[in-house]
């Protein structure tokens, strides 16, 4: 009797020992506090933004909530509290590094420069940098921009891209800067600038929201391809593994495609506008081969 009890005890102990891998980093923090904090954006449509009910919604938010579900399962804490913290391009890295947020779900490009401070999950979106022009302007390529004004938003890489192309092709371009995407688009709308260089998805949502979407066209060569990923803490393999595995599973099962169509090919809050941007080949590739390679 004693021996079989001892045997059972040893068996049970060994079984639980297999699953009780020690928690480190972010997972430990979440387990101890019972709260997972998500950093979200306020107007990065359709990735992460505030809808008409003041709640953060979006394509990246949906993906992050799936990761939260995985964390709940992993820690066996179905009542884990999810806290939402708004962030901006300037604050997202400091808030991640100082522990305020555990994941950032927005439109953050996975870049090698940023990987010095933080890490990224598998890419869930791939954007191409192109330009929007007035449809009747006749501008189709970079050469057509010679002698014109081109606007980009302050603090984005589009500025570097257009300057590189200016130098390479010997173009005479006036560089204007809008303080945010809405203002840059306004410059094209009012005729101050001939073209606005930005990620195609941002351009598509600005066009969809404008007064006369038919007046604009996204033209020009792809100046850069940038992958977006969920930003997580650096040197924290356990948490990153959960995020990567969750996303890879979503991509494989077709759920990823459903989520994409929900936000990019159907009417979305707040004004039920449909962005209507089909999945690009680069994104299909990223879904088929999940990776976290940065640019």
């Amino acid at each position: 009797m004693r021996k079989s009890m001892l045997l059972t005890a040893v068996l049970v102990a060994s079984l639980t020992a297999v699953h009780a891998e020690e928690l480190t980093g972010t997972l430990k923090k979440i387990n101890d506090s019972g709260i997972i904090t998500i950093g979200h954006r306020e107007s990065s449509i359709p990735f992460s933004y505030i809808d008409e009910h003041q709640k953060p919604v979006g394509y990246a938010m949906d993906l992050c909530m799936k990761v939260v579900d995985s964390v709940k399962k992993r820690l066996n804490k179905p009542s884990l509290i999810t806290k939402m913290v708004p962030v901006t391009s300037q604050t997202r890295i400091p808030l991640m590094v100082n522990g305020t947020i555990d994941m950032e779900c927005g439109s953050t490009t996975n870049s090698k420069e940023r990987q010095k401070q933080v890490a990224f999950s598998n890419s869930y979106y791939v954007t191409s940098v192109r330009m929007v022009v007035k449809a009747n302007s006749g501008i189709k390529s970079l050469a057509d921009l010679n002698g014109k004004a081109v606007v980009t938003t302050t603090g984005t890489t589009s500025d570097r891209l257009i300057k590189q192309n200016e130098a390479a092709k010997n173009l005479d371009i006036k560089n204007l800067y809008g303080k945010d995407h809405a203002e840059s688009f306004l410059m094209v709308e009012t005729g101050r600038a001939a073209a606005f260089v930005m990620d195609d998805i941002l351009l598509a949502s600005l066009i969809a929201d404008s007064k006369n979407p038919k007046d604009y066209a996204i033209v020009g060569p792809v100046l850069s391809v940038e992958p977006y990923g969920i930003m997580v803490r650096k040197d924290d393999p356990q948490f990153k593994q959960i995020a990567d595995d969750t996303l890879a599973a979503l991509f494989k099962s077709g759920e990823g495609n459903k989520l994409y169509n929900k936000w990019f090919m159907s009417p979305i809050p707040p004004k039920s506008v449909n962005i209507n941007l089909p999945m690009s080949d680069k994104l299909k590739d990223a879904f088929a081969h999940p990776n976290d390679v940065g640019i």
Binding site: V97, T154, K234
Partner: protein
């Protein structure tokens, strides 16, 4: 901030993808900040003085006009004023003039910024000058008129010399505000110092925003201190012994 990788030498590094260094961008921004602030101050001082004087003259129409100017330009936030001049005005003008403003005017952001900032600050300077004039005893103006000066000569030779000396301290504040308010012009695309900060910490050096912001803060602080000490020197030089502020400190 246990894991933040501090790098105070970031501004000495090369901007990725170009031949330039971050500190060169900051210097370019600084030059524009100085140019904008100083040009706008010139406009603000001249226009503000005229309007301040206009508020104190006996002519009811002139005084009403000046009061209207001050109330309008003081109560609308600077950024809203800049947006009006930059985005709204070209749409209100006839097509040819609007297009010229948008496309062919040289340095549109600089001119709009200087103009907008100057007009905004002129309203505040006008109030300072008016205060200076009103602070003088009534007897000064009456004595001037009694001596045979016209009103204009009374202002020029009796009232204004003393009024300006009285308001040098608040004018110093306005002058220092110029440099800080020039940062607001980044909202219309002027590539001054604050713009350079946003540009660098946006995507070019995203991991080192705190250090770059620290440097920019120090530069603004340095500019404000230089103005402060400069105006203090001016104040000492123009003091008339025996008048307000004339006694040795």
């Amino acid at each position: 901030m246990l894991h933040y990788q501090w790098n105070w030498a970031i501004i000495l590094e090369q901007v990725p993808g170009t031949e330039e260094f971050y500190y060169q961008w900051l210097i370019k921004g600084l030059e524009l900040t100085l140019a904008t602030a100083l040009s706008a101050w010139l406009i603000a001082l001249v226009l503000g003085s005229l309007i301040g004087i206009a508020r104190t003259v006996p002519n009811k129409w002139l005084s009403a006009l000046a009061t209207a100017y001050v109330e309008i330009f003081r109560n609308i936030p600077l950024l809203a004023q800049l947006f009006f001049w930059f985005f709204v005005l070209p749409e209100l003008l006839p097509e040819a003039a609007g297009d010229w403003m948008k496309q062919s005017m040289p340095y549109p952001e600089f001119i709009t910024g200087v103009f907008g900032l100057g007009l905004f600050t002129a309203a505040r300077v006008a109030e300072q000058i008016r205060t200076g004039i009103l602070a003088l005893p009534r007897g000064q103006k009456n004595a001037g008129l009694a001596m045979g000066f016209t009103l204009g000569q009374t202002y020029r030779h009796v009232l204004l010399p003393m009024a300006f000396r009285i308001v040098i301290p608040p004018l110093t504040s306005e002058f220092m505000n110029m440099f800080k308010n020039s940062a607001v012009c980044y909202g219309i695309g002027l590539t001054e110092l604050y713009f350079q900060l946003k540009q660098i910490t946006g995507d070019y050096a995203p991991g080192n925003g705190l250090e770059v912001a620290g440097y920019v803060t120090l530069i603004y602080l340095a500019m404000a201190l230089v103005v402060n000490r400069g105006m203090a020197w001016v104040e000492r030089k123009v003091t008339i012994p025996g008048t307000i502020g004339g006694t040795k400190k």
